[in-house]
Symmetry: C2
Subunit: 347 residues, 2 copies
């Protein structure tokens, strides 16, 4: 009897940017076997990320859209279950791009690095010691360039990236101001992640009210804005930036997804604000900074070992629940890094 492997494929494109469970289909396929030079990877944890909305949309992006009918890609923590590759042995744990499936074969090109389970729980390779951590650390440090004493504002402040940005800002001696979407998340920002102040933007629905609340939360103005949303929340932040401010455009969850080259959704023009404040607004993707990653890993791992980084995980059990979990993530209803536990811990 052939062993089977479950996988989830993309079945269509989000209409109007709306991601639904119906866009995904769970399939049973034969368990793959590694050929010469290949390894067999067993998925342990699967990362779900806001950027996945862009990955599956049929609009020009920084990568080609996932083809309909293909297995949904995703970052994983995987265990090497069989190896015909000289660099990997059975039992190795790796950070990989193995996608939404139980079993995958790899020639090594989809493996990013080996993980030492002694350093930290292996799931951290999907966030604090993975691309979430790199995004937060490199986005803040390289594009945001915070200086001790400055004020750093963060949107989706209690989220996977945001909560790390806030903590790193504090570790670097800055005042951290969080913007988030519920009173519970405000409490998490203040109590778990150490923000100096946090604002529930849903409690301040018009932009003007949010701007006033931000003014109270950042009485000396905002020097760095780590922006995961764009849209009206960011409009309110821009009313409070200081001369020389740096705005790190890391995500655009608050803006409808339209192809570049097509007319973008309207909002207030930023030119005069940027000019008068001599401010900088910069799109950031961590994989442009691969040369800076070793330094990022070193500093982040030290903070993890010293217990200086608090992280929140929102783990759901079972590959079959990944689509619903992604929808929940994109609705902002997660309470930390969104992870699917696909199989048992390694070893």
């Amino acid at each position: 009897m052939t062993e089977t492997s479950r996988q989830i494929v993309l079945t269509g494109r989000p209409e109007g940017g709306q991601v639904t469970e119906a866009l995904f289909e769970l399939q049973d396929v034969p368990k793959p076997e590694p050929g010469p030079g290949e390894v067999l990877l067993r998925a342990v944890y699967l990362s779900l990320d806001p950027a996945m909305r862009g990955w599956i949309s049929d609009t020009p992006n920084y990568r080609d859209p996932v083809p309909v009918g293909e297995v949904m890609p995703g970052f994983t923590v995987s265990e090497v279950a069989a190896s015909r590759h000289p660099d990997y042995a059975v039992g190795d744990v790796v950070a990989a791009r193995a996608g939404w499936r139980d079993w995958a074969v790899s020639d090594g090109s989809t493996i990013d690095r080996k993980i030492d389970p002694a350093v930290a729980p292996v799931a951290t390779a999907l966030h604090v010691l993975g691309h979430t951590g790199f995004t937060a650390y490199l986005g803040l440090m390289e594009a945001g360039q915070p200086v001790a004493g400055e004020t750093v504002a963060v949107s989706t402040a209690a989220g996977a990236v945001g909560s790390m940005v806030g903590q790193i800002a504090k570790l670097k001696g800055c005042r951290a101001v969080g913007i988030t979407g519920s009173d519970d998340k405000v409490a998490a920002c203040r109590e778990r992640f150490g923000y100096d102040a946090a604002v529930n933007y849903k409690a301040h629905p018009p932009v003007d009210d949010l701007a006033a609340a931000l003014g109270a939360a950042a009485p000396e103005g905002i020097d760095v804005y780590f922006d995961n949303v764009g849209g009206e929340i960011s409009d309110a932040v821009l009313a409070h930036i200081n001369v020389g401010a740096r705005i790190v455009v890391c995500g655009t969850m608050g803006i409808r997804d339209v192809a570049i080259g097509e007319p973008q959704p309207p909002g207030p023009r930023v030119n005069r604000t940027l000019l008068i404040k001599r401010a900088r607004m910069q799109g950031f993707l961590f994989f442009d900074y691969v040369d800076r990653m070793p330094a990022a890993i070193a500093e982040l791992a030290a903070w993890v070992r010293e217990g200086k980084l608090t992280y929140a995980e929102d783990i759901v059990d079972g590959l079959e629940r990944a689509p619903a979990a992604l929808v929940r993530l994109l609705a902002g209803k997660n309470t930390g890094k969104m992870i699917v536990r696909v199989g048992p811990e390694p070893g």
Copy 2:
């Protein structure tokens, strides 16, 4: 009989951003006399600048608005006509901020530097070797960071700053693409200033058409955009930026002037474009870069001496014509650096 001095004072604020001659009034006042530690300056040339619209508007800006009833400020080339200041002698020519008047006294704080009339015609201190030159050079080099072989697009390409940016881009080994407002200016860009291509945006009225024309003018995309206008012209440029592009926000003549903190005029949101292109949009004012000015003057002066910089001056005669000339400048009808000849050449 008391000698008189003419001066022009501001009488009101532009309504809806509209600058008219009626906002200025010519007055005769007694010629001032220098006190101890002061010099008497005779205005030779007065610079008119697009930024003056911002100076006289009652909206938060990078300087306080010019008070109604006060002499209109402005950069001048002035001759020292009398001196009770140890650093200045009669006959010295200086770059000063003496305002719209025949005679001014200064304690030295409004004098920026001495000018050597042997290096170049003294009026160049108001443009190529003055703040126009610094704006073009430092804005392009510090904020734009062009690399040889890249494409640099410039709006108001035949204007005072724009024409210099285009030439400096060429001197630095880049492809220069100009955007300007008439066929005559397109010809000036190509023939006088050496742009590789130039587009008349008024011949391509909808943004889509302009974007197509820019695509033809910049077949390899745009790496640096030196933006003097904002608005729909810039929307078209953004459709063609490359990964890693730098947008220097140097002026916003194409955007209605609204106080920072108030809702800005609407336009397409730039966040997704900046993110996907990992591009940077940065407000620039040259006086943030005073430490880089000596190097800028040195390189610019060398180019002037070697005849490598072509500059266009649009000189009107007589202080009384300054208001009309400013209105003409803000309407984009000038044909080079707008200068008022207030009095005879020095010496």
